[in-house]
């Protein structure tokens, strides 16, 4: 556990340099520049959001074609009602709104599921202070077979840490 994100960043750099795998980091806010060091890949949520948006666009256009052109064309002030292309300008606002609707909600739901943050889920941060002002760097011995526990402990003590706790996991 560290009391400053810069100390944690330096420590993570040092540990990775020694070939130790960092399992996870728990922090009260995003630490910029940490992801490439501990090997967290870029998220693909933006791509997912784009796909949801495309889905929304298609669905909106298909729906409006069915309601307004195919199923029950209405003559409103003599405006074209028998062709989707000619009526398209009037359909732009709803198409846009519905695409945004799908993109935003689709992405938000994906985000919740991927993060495993849903109503009623248990929290699994190791220490309650990590949502306030402390930063935890987690190393699992099971992921670092080339280093024994004493070795890991010594490497951690070299860094500018505040607390160290060793847990035996079943």
């Amino acid at each position: 556990m560290y009391d400053d994100e810069q100390k944690l960043l330096a420590a993570a750099k040092e540990l990775v340099h020694q070939g130790i795998r960092v399992k996870d980091v728990f922090s009260p806010f995003p630490i910029h520049g940490l992801d490439p060091i501990i090997g967290v890949k870029r998220t693909r949520l933006a791509i997912a959001s784009f796909m949801y948006a495309t889905g929304g666009t298609t669905l909106a256009l298909l729906g409006m074609w069915y309601f307004m052109i195919h199923d029950w064309p209405m003559n409103i002030g003599g405006k074209p009602s028998f062709s989707l292309i000619q009526n398209l300008p009037a359909f732009v606002p709803v198409t846009f709104e519905f695409s945004v609707f799908c993109a935003a909600h689709g992405m938000a739901i994906t985000y919740m599921i991927r993060n495993k943050t849903l109503p009623g889920m248990p929290a699994c941060n190791p220490d309650p202070r990590t949502t306030d002002d402390k930063f935890v760097l987690e190393i699992a011995a099971s992921q670092n077979h080339d280093h024994d526990v004493e070795n890991l402990e010594a490497a951690l003590k070299q860094t500018d840490l505040m607390e160290l706790s060793i847990k035996e996991l079943a």
């Binding site: 810069q6 996870d24 980091v25 728990f26 922090s27 009260p28 806010f29 995003p30 630490i31 910029h32 520049g33 940490l34 992801d35 501990i38 967290v40 998220t43 949520l45 933006a46 959001s49 948006a53 409006m64 309601f67 307004m68 199923d71 029950w72 409103i76 405006k79 009526n87 009037a90 606002p93 709803v94 709104e97 519905f98 945004v100 609707f101 993109a103 935003a104 909600h105 992405m107 938000a108 985000y111 919740m112 991927r114 993060n115 495993k116 943050t117 849903l118 109503p119 009623g120 889920m121 248990p122 929290a123 699994c124 941060n125 309650p128 202070r129 990590t130 949502t131 306030d132 002002d133």
Partner: protein
């Protein structure tokens, strides 16, 4: 780490640590409710009850209890609708547009501005609902198969676009707001000692743990949501303005309506944010986070949007003459000299003249002056919608059907009631929710905090 110029004013004053930020924001939630809050919420609660009573009476009796008549079929209801939607524009603008522009000062105000947005949009959405008269068939606005041979809703109509725009705007703002709240609820959850609040906040926080990967996703989601919310903000009020602009009523049938309405919305939204923030920073002791510099930035936005609105008023006036259309020019002559001239001149004074005072640095950095001015802007923007709606339709093409509108006590009761409900919701928010975006403020503490800035100079 990101560095910031030393001459830039710090955004967080005093010698704060991460823990201080948590204490300052979460502290008021943990303690007992202050007396002032109890008094305020009792008052706003009573006003809300009165408003709800008026709405029940309205629904039970019919919209004839409003002062509407055959000529003036839209008056306070739609004025209030547009006013509330406009107020609802600042929150998402602050959190989405300013996020894209990487404006760090937004972090102190975005949480409460977004809460305000959501509550204002709820108030706005209520008006078209009760204006339908038969609210129990309100679901007819959605394209649902029905027993009339499947007669669908009209997708050519701006009124239907509005249904989609407002519901999208409301739900997307809500999601954006909540995603930002999750990590802060987790902070409260981990501090709470009493079992019941702890349980509630732990449900609200969805089990947030703050893993590195979670934060990466969090930042990506915030950025992408900001990216898609930005055109959404502009589209919503554009569509609201098309409710008027696509009609053939002189005074409504104007192509400058969309940009003019959007800047008017931002103008009134910022005014309302300032009104509420100036009270909140004082009562909740947030002076270190929301201080003169933030107020000045917001006042600059008010000058810009207020000037756009002023130019739009003058353009409208000029075009009504330049177009050579008799009906169009009469509509505008009638506005500034007809029976509703008083409302036109209130609008002009509050929206065009008063924001220009903000060019003086002393005035825009004065909190008292800003507070008074924002009240003026709120009033002025309500009258803008009143002028556009009522003065345009009370005298139309056919002089034999000219008429006037007089508000009834139900008109007033419903409007005042929505202000009461809005303030009640906002007070509840201020009491139980983290009013500042904790996780975002902590990221800027080292680049924009006063103590870190002064340390780095030596």
């Amino acid at each position: 780490m990101h560095k910031e110029a030393a001459i830039r004013e710090p955004l967080i004053l005093g010698h704060k640590t991460y823990n201080d930020i948590t204490n300052d924001v979460v502290g008021p939630i943990e303690g007992p409710a202050p007396m002032g809050w109890k008094i305020l919420i009792s008052i706003t609660g009573l006003i809300s009850l009165y408003g709800i009573g008026c709405i029940m009476y309205l629904i039970g009796t019919g919209i004839g209890v409003w002062g509407l008549n055959k000529t003036v079929g839209w008056a306070w209801d739609i004025t209030n609708f547009v006013w509330w939607v406009g107020i609802g524009h600042a929150g998402t603008l602050i959190s989405a547009v300013l996020l894209l522009f990487r404006q760090k000062w937004r972090m102190a105000i975005n949480r409460s501005a977004e809460a305000m947005t959501i509550f204002a949009v709820i108030m706005a959405a209520m008006f078209p609902g009760i204006h339908m008269g038969r609210i129990w068939v309100g679901y007819w606005v959605f394209p649902l198969p029905n027993q009339f041979g499947s007669l669908w809703v009209n997708f050519n109509s701006p009124l239907l676009w509005d249904v989609f725009a407002i519901s999208t705007y409301f739900s997307v703002s809500l999601v954006f707001w909540y995603i930002g709240l999750i990590p802060d609820f987790a902070t409260i959850r981990d501090r709470m000692i009493k079992p019941l609040p702890k349980k509630i906040y732990s449900i609200l926080s969805f089990g947030w743990s703050g893993r590195a990967k979670n934060w990466t996703r969090f930042e990506e989601v915030s950025l992408v949501l900001a990216g898609i919310a930005t055109p959404l903000v502009f589209s919503v009020h554009s569509i609201v303005s098309m409710d008027f602009a696509t009609s053939v009523v002189p005074g409504w049938h104007t192509t400058i309506f969309p940009p003019y309405f959007v800047s008017g919305a931002v103008f009134s939204g910022f005014a309302m944010v300032l009104t509420l923030m100036l009270i909140m920073r004082k009562t909740m002791k947030l002076e270190a986070y929301v201080h003169v510099k933030h107020v000045e930035y917001m006042n600059i936005v008010i000058i810009v949007t207020g000037s756009i609105v002023g130019v739009a008023y003058l353009t409208e006036l000029f075009m009504s003459w330049y177009s050579g259309v008799e009906y169009e020019s009469y509509a505008f002559i009638n506005r500034f000299s007809g029976p509703y001239a008083w409302s036109y001149w209130i609008m002009m004074t509050c929206n065009v003249i008063s924001p220009q005072l903000m060019w003086f640095k002393k005035l825009r950095r004065s909190l008292t002056f800003t507070f008074v001015l924002t009240i003026f802007v709120n009033i002025g923007m309500w009258f803008e919608r009143y002028v556009i709606i009522v003065t345009s339709i009370h005298r139309d093409y056919n002089p034999s059907s000219w008429g006037e509108f007089h508000a009834t006590f139900i008109d007033i009761g419903v409007f005042v009631g929505t202000i009461g409900i809005f303030l009640t919701l906002f007070l509840l928010f201020a009491r139980f929710f983290p009013v500042l975006a904790l996780n975002e403020l902590k990221t800027i503490l080292k680049s924009s905090g006063e103590s870190y800035k002064s340390d780095s100079e030596h």
